[in-house]
Subunit: 140 residues, 2 copies
């Protein structure tokens, strides 16, 4: 996927976006009132933002209290792995125009329930790493 | 994996541990000084605890500041998905006896660098969910 000699390669923003764009499944981390929660979620990378859908519930309530979110997606195979972390601010799409545009993108959700809200994450920080997997050296 | 009619099944602790035990790859969420970080990590479920390895760095520094951590692992296939979230306290194994016992378990790490520390997470809360994937209903 990426060629490098060291076991860990720090990815550029462009490389990180490439991985974000070809993945659909990640996790969003929310913090409210000192409590941290993490939710697996389908997402879509579009126009330098991440788009997710949510039913009313804990996720939406927490974003209303604290818009700062952390998102992570990763992949692992037999000999390589990667992870991209996005920190940013989340907001619930409000205008009919924005929601209509989001619906056009065809974002799929995990379960067949009606999810009435779109959440857009605007990144303020992106960090990507690519790992060549292997055994650690012997301890001396 | 689990039979249920509703799209989402809340798993028992026993079911959640079963999933934790047969998975090796998850993410640990750490919070220190108001900053939340997430790291992909290999782990091992053993004796009602989670065991991870870490090189000196951000993860270890953050655990020293705030021992409260959140851990998540999940799996997804074409028609089902699951996620287990563990909240708990993390500590770095200190005694030679504990470290020797941990080494016996054969926990693998992602990259071939020497990781000198074992982190043990003692769960205080476990939540597991199993999803039957499908399309959401049409909006009316």
């Amino acid at each position: 996927m990426f060629e490098h000699d060291d076991p860990v390669l720090e990815l550029s923003d462009e490389q990180s976006w490439k991985l974000l764009s070809k993945t659909q499944h990640g996790r969003i981390v929310l913090t409210a009132a000192g409590e941290t929660d993490i939710f697996p979620i389908n997402y879509l990378a579009h126009d330098n933002h991440l788009l997710m859908r949510s039913a009313p519930g804990t996720k939406l309530a927490e974003i209303t209290i604290n818009e700062n979110v952390v998102f992570e997606t990763d992949g692992i195979s037999s000999d390589e792995a990667w992870s991209v972390v996005v920190k940013g601010t989340a907001r619930v799409l409000q205008s009919g125009e924005e929601i209509a545009a989001a619906e056009q993108l065809g974002l799929k959700t995990w379960v067949p329930t009606l999810k009435d809200f779109y959440i857009e994450v605007k990144p303020t920080f992106i960090s990507g790493r690519h790992f060549i997997l292997g055994e650690q050296p012997e301890r001396f």
